[in-house]
Symmetry: C2
Subunit: 179 residues, 2 copies
DNA sequence: CAATGGCATTCATCTAGATTAATTAATCCC
DNA sequence: GGGATTAATTAATCTAGATGAATGCCATTG
């Protein structure tokens, strides 16, 4: 939180906004360096592939920052949409501003810690996608994000896992049977 | 390079080492905060899953840093092995040392830039794993790392792509036919 | 309250890629 | 150089999960 307060001080353009369920905060194809800290509520980012299929990249609930670092780093148009899944309270700030600012060592360390965490999450995700069955990935999802199943429609969870809603439905049926 | 020179100055335990093809630099199950800058040569990191199957997580050739940020961030034992694929010249340093050190804003920015790049790579990888066929992933691999196919055995590329060596062989045959 | 439209479920079929196994081609090493 | 080990290819089968289509379920909105 501390870190965020600093950001707000530094980035004069940063501000608190509230947004409604269903709003799209970012469209693929645009160039932006905005990031969204989730104070309350829930966001998701997703891409749409060549066949028009959606793929959920990440969910961001309270305390997480949603930012398309990939496009910002390479300065290319975003592949990601960002959508508001619940009425939310957000703090928007400009990552470019952050990069250019002069920060203390402590502040930079906080930034690095956040990035490390993100890398860690992505590393797990890659290894999971490569080595586990759909059922294993679903169980791992439940263990890692126990509150999300109640807040996110099932077909988005399926998309996050890289499977179809039908496949997830089948997995759930089988799991119920085993309890 | 600049960034690295600084690291070497700061981390008194850092040193240049050379290692031979086939050497294992890190074993899964250990706790370590070492990172390896590749001056010359090639490394790979990989995990071994419950069924004894290897999964290549990442290759690191000249100019890249190999580090298991996931385990270092959460301070848990590594899931990753790091293996030397060619006789290599490396600079080993301790990330913990780096975290604790007092660095200039410029130095921290360099660090953040490196991490951003890593996140970008992982983001692409996740989206690719979720949305593309094996053939598409292979083509993307060829485009992104054009030098690696000549330096890395095919079964490791297959493993990186998340498919079997047989499947990769078939894909290659089909591609030759189409040229 | 009906009616509409999105969501989850079920089932029948299909397919990309896994698995198994055998064959050939490279590498290694004494 | 020749025997042994590892890598790549091919082909025959199998399977997890995709696709397509039908059905029931709320939850909205008029």
């Amino acid at each position: 939180m501390n870190y965020l307060q600093e950001i707000i001080k530094i980035d004069k353009s940063s501000k608190e906004i509230s947004c409604k369920k269903g709003e799209i905060l970012q469209y693929a194809g645009t160039i932006t360096s905005l990031a969204y800290y989730v104070k309350k509520g829930l966001l998701r980012s997703y891409s749409i592939d060549g066949k028009g299929k959606e793929h959920v990249f990440i969910f961001a609930s309270e305390g997480w920052i949603m930012a398309d670092i990939e496009s910002q780093e390479f300065n290319t148009p975003t592949e990601l949409f960002i959508e508001c899944l619940e009425n939310s309270e957000l703090i928007v700030f400009d990552r470019k501003c952050l990069v250019e600012a002069k920060l203390s060592d402590e502040q930079r360390k906080d930034e690095i810690r956040l990035m490390s965490r993100r890398i860690a999450v992505l590393q797990r995700r890659v290894l999971l996608l490569m080595s586990s069955s759909a059922k294993e990935r679903y169980n791992s999802f439940l263990a890692t994000y126990p509150d999300l199943p109640n807040r996110v429609p099932q077909h988005m969870i399926a998309s996050y896992l890289g499977i179809t809603p039908q496949a997830l439905s089948t997995i759930r049926r089988e799991m119920v049977g085993k309890n």
